[in-house]
Symmetry: C2
Subunit: 430 residues, 2 copies
Amino acid sequence: MSPIAELSLAELAALRSSVEARYDAFRAQGLKLDMTRGKPASDQLDLANAMIALPGNGDYLSASGEDTRNYGNLQGLAEARALFAPVLGAPPEQIVVGDNSSLALMHDCIVYALLKGVPGSQRPWSKEQTPAFICPTPGYDRHFAILEDFGIRMLPVAMTDHGPDMDAVEKLAADPAVKGMWCVPKYSNPTGEIYSDETVARLAAMPTAAPDFRLFWDNAYCLHHLTERRNEIANILEECGRACHPDRAFVFASTSKMTFAGAGLAFFASSPANVRWYLARAGKRTIGPDKLNQLRHVRFLRDLAGLERHMDAHRALLAPKFVAVTDALQRHLGGSGTARWSAPEGGYFISVEVIEGTAKRVVDLAKAAGVALTPAGATWPYGEDPHDSNLRLAPTVPALADVRAASECIALCILLAAIEAQTALRASAA
Amino acid sequence: MSPIAELSLAELAALRSSVEARYDAFRAQGLKLDMTRGKPASDQLDLANAMIALPGNGDYLSASGEDTRNYGNLQGLAEARALFAPVLGAPPEQIVVGDNSSLALMHDCIVYALLKGVPGSQRPWSKEQTPAFICPTPGYDRHFAILEDFGIRMLPVAMTDHGPDMDAVEKLAADPAVKGMWCVPKYSNPTGEIYSDETVARLAAMPTAAPDFRLFWDNAYCLHHLTERRNEIANILEECGRACHPDRAFVFASTSKMTFAGAGLAFFASSPANVRWYLARAGKRTIGPDKLNQLRHVRFLRDLAGLERHMDAHRALLAPKFVAVTDALQRHLGGSGTARWSAPEGGYFISVEVIEGTAKRVVDLAKAAGVALTPAGATWPYGEDPHDSNLRLAPTVPALADVRAASECIALCILLAAIEAQTALRASAA
């Protein structure tokens, strides 16, 4: 297709008629498809079905003979920490295993920082004038929602192909009010970037005016590859140590998208001082995590090789869905100049940049045709995309055939919204 | 035995020799017994062993067809809420099922109140000058630890046979800085009282200067009877509604001491406005609880009758241990005027009031004889008992024979410490 900006008025009108006809055909089908939810499909959950009857009758003692049914062990089972140590890039003694939600661990770290401060804080963050976070954007709406809820200012920085725009990040970090930064360093949510080694090193080494600045390193997609390439990123804890900022990074991960989304394990890994801090705080909140679920995971996954085999099985289910989306976008929009999209090598999302000012229109058009999309703006702080141009597609839940149909429809909506905008532009120029 | 205060000096010296001899005999045995931990023994945990293989292969759909393996359902499974509705005294729609720790729910309610306020708050509690809580004392050390950690002042009030001293409570509640109150209304921790209907009604009806005052109603031992009498207390949510204070009570409970202490379910029950508030806050923290564990509990306990049968089995294991303690105390201390103790009809503790100024000495003596007791003072705010007189005994974990031996030893330690104090008193008077 030629760029629509180069079409004559007559060509544009003809294209519009043709696209509208195809769009109407979709509408007539009465589709009911949902591309909003970044969660596993039920065939992915089936991969872990053996866990439902685990650990199994009479099996409740840990390797050290601890009764996992009872209270205690705030830090989590040693064997669960050992199993995930290579994934988290931290020794087992610097890992805490929590319950089913890494988001909860992040939330609690922010709450504890607000009410008590972190190691190195001069005062609790809630006593600072106007604490702020650096937010690579587009980003994860639930990260932003926590900050918004607690009145922490959000400072967006753009993403590049190798992570956040580090010049902008370093400039912002020079402000003492800037206390932290969200990072999804591998297969970023939603744009799919992998932080380069240089980006990781700069994040670890950069001067920060706040002595208690923290990287909230949400390695949510650490093993969630979509190709045969198991991409690795630099070890942030090691980099921070090397740069003499040993306490800078809070590392988070979970098995939510490995085993069961609602019944997985969440992890916190950090420096010895941060782990002591976290445990001291969490020890006021609970007597310990669900260790029986930790044992269940250890029995099922066994070791790193078992975990990687399990993630390969996820990939086999997911990769075709992502290809279906990018194929449809390419087929309908390639060369039209109406969209750019990510082709992620991992993670749960495809991010699409459409013509400025048309993202909301695309979502409305898709909705009218029976395809639910994440609200435009959701990937921006406060839910407001100043360019109204970013869309987040989540192809994991629908069946492959449905992903295909939805992607065709979405591509047409993007094209139609772009043609409408182009038509209006020509009219206003005339 | 005669009251030791009435003994002659010679009689006192003779008693001391005899008690010391018996104490030394205990020391010589090299006991290693632990009466500190308010947690279930492993034979109690065995009662729920069938849960370890539940819900079982292929069983993961809720009654409504929801996939419990996946994300979502912040409020918890409808069938889990229905099962515990009669226990909590709230309709299922006013119940939230959390993960394994009701302490965590209480902690989070305080955190949310500090950072955001509760329904009716004029500002977050952290913006108040000096927020304070009414603390019936002796009380639960982990309740107090949360308040201490966040700098919330603790105002002790005495316990009576039918709950906290309500005249004192009503007086304190007239101060607008007083934002809440801890209550363990049935089988109070550690003193075992059951709040009378009048106490509950007064708590619900009393004027409070703070418009956002909250009763933290920790019904931890709701079904944890030690006799055949299933004691009931008045329904605090209904009483608050009747008194036109519908939002006054946050009700908490858990299955930690029903199924597995580390892998149970926790519950929050309250007014519709409070439940909406809680869910709005918790929804920033997590996408949902471990619903598979909720299904596991529903499959195992089935219904209220199943739950009550299960608690009867706990009682059969626990009641003899409590009797062993009170028997030993009565046998060694009855009539001596050296101690008063609770004979609770439920719960996990026996509370002992010893001669003022001797509780720490008793703990030291017991430790030297190989019996670990909870540190004296633990049941008071800030861990400081101004009378140094309260001891908390936790007889659930050791085997019955060990409880017997430990109780004998503790009784002797109490007696010995009292004789020492009486001897010193006579010497100083002389």
